[in-house]
C-alpha cells in the first residue's frame, strides 16, 4: 500500500519536474494539503473523539467524496504555490522559493493549534473499510490503492504522451522557443503544478487513511528529496523508470534499513542511516548518471507526409504545438 501511494506521488512529481521542468521543492505541501483535507472531512466534529484535537471543518463525508475534495484542494494548493514563483525566475531560484514555501507552510501549520491541531497533528483517522473486518478492510484498501495507481498511471500517461505532454517538454527544453510559438509558459507551469497537486492530494488522502494520523513531522522538506531521488534514479520524464526508482528508493533504501538491528543507545539510528544513504544516492546519481537508469527516450518523428495538393507536410513546430 505504501508503495502504491509512493508511486502516485512520484509519477505526479515526475510530471512537474521530469516533464514540465518545474523545480518544485514544495511538493510535500500538496500531499499534506490532501491529507489534512481528508482528515478534517472524515473525523467529524472536533468536540468528538475525546475533544483533544482542534481543527477546522470537522465533517463526516463518504470516502469517495473526501478523496475528490483532497484532489481539488491539492490542485488549488499546487497552483497557489506556483503563484509565489510566477515571476519567470531561473530554475534554482524557483527551487529556493519552493523550499522556503515548504518550510514556511510546516511552520505555520505547526504554530496554529486551531487549524490542524498544531504540532501534535491529527490522529484517529479511521480506515474507511474497517467495517469489513480487520483483514478484509486492509485488503479492500489495497485494492483501492491499486485501482488509484492504475487510473493515475493511465491518466498521466495520456496527459504526458499527448500534445500537452509535448508542449510541456518543449517548455522544459527551451522556454524561449515555446514562448516564441505562442505558448504561455506561466500558464503551462500553473497547469503542471495543478495537475501534479491533484494527484499529490489523492496520495495524501490515501496515505492518511492508511496511517491513521498526520502531523507536521510527517511532511518535512526531506520527503520531497526522497521523491526527487526516485525520479533521478529511475529516469526523469519516464514513468516506467520512475516506478523502478520509487521501488529502489522507498522499498530497498528507506524501508530496507528498518531491518538493520536497532541499537538501544542510539535511538533513531536506522532512520538516520536511511536518510544518509538517500542523500549519498542522490549525489552519486547526479554525478555519475544524471539521466537515470532508464533515460527518457527522445521522441522520433516520421518523415513529413507528402501533401497530395503539393504543399509541405507538417513541420517541426507542429510537434510541439498542442
Amino acid at each position: 500500500m505504501y508503495l502504491g501511494t509512493d508511486l502516485l506521488a512520484a509519477w505526479s512529481l515526475n510530471l512537474e519536474f521530469g516533464v514540465a521542468g518545474v523545480a518544485n521543492l514544495a511538493y510535500i505541501v500538496v500531499i499534506a494539503a490532501g491529507a489534512y483535507t481528508y482528515a478534517v472531512l472524515t473525523l467529524g466534529p472536533s468536540s468528538g473523539n475525546g475533544g483533544f484535537q482542534q481543527y477546522i471543518l470537522g465533517f463526516r463525508l463518504p470516502f469517495a467524496l473526501t478523496v475528490i475534495a483532497a484532489a481539488l484542494v491539492g490542485a488549488a494548493v499546487g497552483a497557489l504555490i506556483r503563484v509565489s514563483g510566477l515571476k519567470r525566475l531561473r530554475q534554482d531560484y524557483q527551487g529556493m522559493v519552493m523550499l522556503v514555501v515548504s518550510l514556511m507552510a510546516a511552520t505555520v501549520v505547526g504554530a496554529d493549534g486551531g487549524l490542524f491541531n498544531g504540532q501534535a497533528g491529527l490522529s484517529l483517522v479511521s480506515n474507511p473499510f474497517s467495517g469489513s473486518g480487520s483483514a478484509g478492510g486492509d485488503w479492500t484498501y489495497v485494492g483501492v490503492v491499486a485501482l488509484a495507481c492504475v487510473v493515475g498511471y493511465l491518466l498521466l500517461r495520456r496527459f504526458t504522451g499527448g500534445p500537452m505532454g509535448r508542449t510541456l517538454r518543449a517548455m522544459r527544453d527551451d522556454e524561449h522557443a515555446a514562448a516564441a510559438i505562442g505558448r504561455s509558459v506561466v500558464n503551462l507551469r500553473l497547469l503542471a503544478q495543478a495537475v501534479g497537486g491533484a494527484f499529490g492530494g489523492v496520495r495524501g488522502a490515501l496515505l492518511v487513511g492508511l496511517i491513521g494520523g498526520w502531523s507536521p513531522s510527517s511532511w518535512a522538506y526531506p520527503e520531497t528529496l526522497a521523491l526527487l531521488t526516485a525520479i533521478i534514479v529511475g529516469g526523469m520524464g519516464n514513468n516506467v523508470g520512475v516506478s523502478i526508482g520509487t521501488f529502489v528508493v522507498y522499498l530497498l533504501l528507506l524501508q530496507g534499513v528498518q531491518f538493520l538491528p536497532a541499537i538501544a543507545s542510539h535511538p533513531g539510528l536506522t532512520e538516520a542511516f536511511g536518510w544518509m544513504i538517500l542523500g549519498v544516492t542522490t549525489v552519486a546519481f547526479v554525478w555519475l548518471r544524471p539521466q537515470g537508469v532508464f533515460p527518457e527516450r527522445r521522441p522520433r518523428f516520421g518523415r513529413p507526409r507528402a501533401d497530395p495538393a503539393g504543399g509541405s507536410g507538417p513541420g517541426l513546430s507542429d510537434s510541439i504545438r498542442a
Binding site: L25, R88, P267, L278, T282, V286
Partner: protein, 283 residues
Amino acid sequence: MIALGAVDFTVQFGINSILNITYGSLTTLAAYLGHFLVGAHLSIWLALAIGAVMVGLASMVFHRVLLAPLVRRGIRPFGLIVVTVACGIVLRYVIVAVVGPTAQSYGEQSGATLHILGMTFTVAQVVSIAITAVLMLSLHLLLTRTKLGRAMRATSANRTLAQSCGIATDRISDIAWLISGTLCGAAGVALAITVATFDFTLGSVFLIPMIAAAEPGGSGPALRRDAGRVGGGDQQPGGGRPLEPRVPGRDRLRDPDREVAGAPARALRGHLVVAAAAGMSPV
C-alpha cells in the same frame, strides 16, 4: 547572527552563483562542534573560533571536492540545489547518528545582565553582537580595501574576464568558501549560545531568516539580473556581467562590485527588515 549568516550566503552566491542549501546544516555542525569543545573545558569564545575555522575548512573542501567538479561538468543550477539539499540532509543525519536527536545546550553561558540604552542584554549577547560587528566590518574592509577583495569582486562580476586578467579564480573561489564557511561557523556557534537549547534542526530553523535577510538586503545587480532570466544553465559561472567599456587609464576594478562588496551592509539591512517584519527584537 542572522545578518552574519546572510552575508556568508551572499558571498558564496556572489562568487560562484551557487545557492548553497547545505548552509543550514553547516550552521548546525558548527553549533555541535562548539558544544563539544566547551564540553572539553575550552572557553566558549575559543570554541567559537575553532568551530568557525573547522566549518570553514569543511565548506571549502565541500566546494572543491563536490560542487566545483559538478559545475565543470555543466550541471544545471537546480541540479546543484538538489545536491546541496542532499548533502545538507546527509550532514544533518550524520549529526543525529553521532550525537543523537536529543536537544543540547551550552549551559549557563549568558553571564551577567547588562542594561544598555533601556534594553536588557546578557554578557554573551553583547559579546556575540560585538563579534558579529567586527567580523562583518572585517569582511567589508577585505572586500573593498584589499587586493584579495578586488580579485573576489572581479571573479564575482565576470569569471572569464577575471581569468583573462590572470586572477586564479579557482583559488579565489576556495578562499571565498573558506571565508564564508568560517563566518557561517561563527554564526552557528553564536546562535547556539543565544538560544536556550538546540538540536539537529537548528540550521533549518534559521535558514529562512538568513535567506530572507540576504534577499531584502539585495545581492546586487547580478541577482536581480539573473532573477529575470528564464531557464537554467545559460549563464557563465560566477554570475557574469556584460563587459563594460574600458576607460583608458582607469582601473577597471575601481568601481566596486556592489553585490559582493556591499554584502555586509545589505545583510544587516535585510536582517533588520526581517526582524521588523517578524516582530522580533533585532538582537
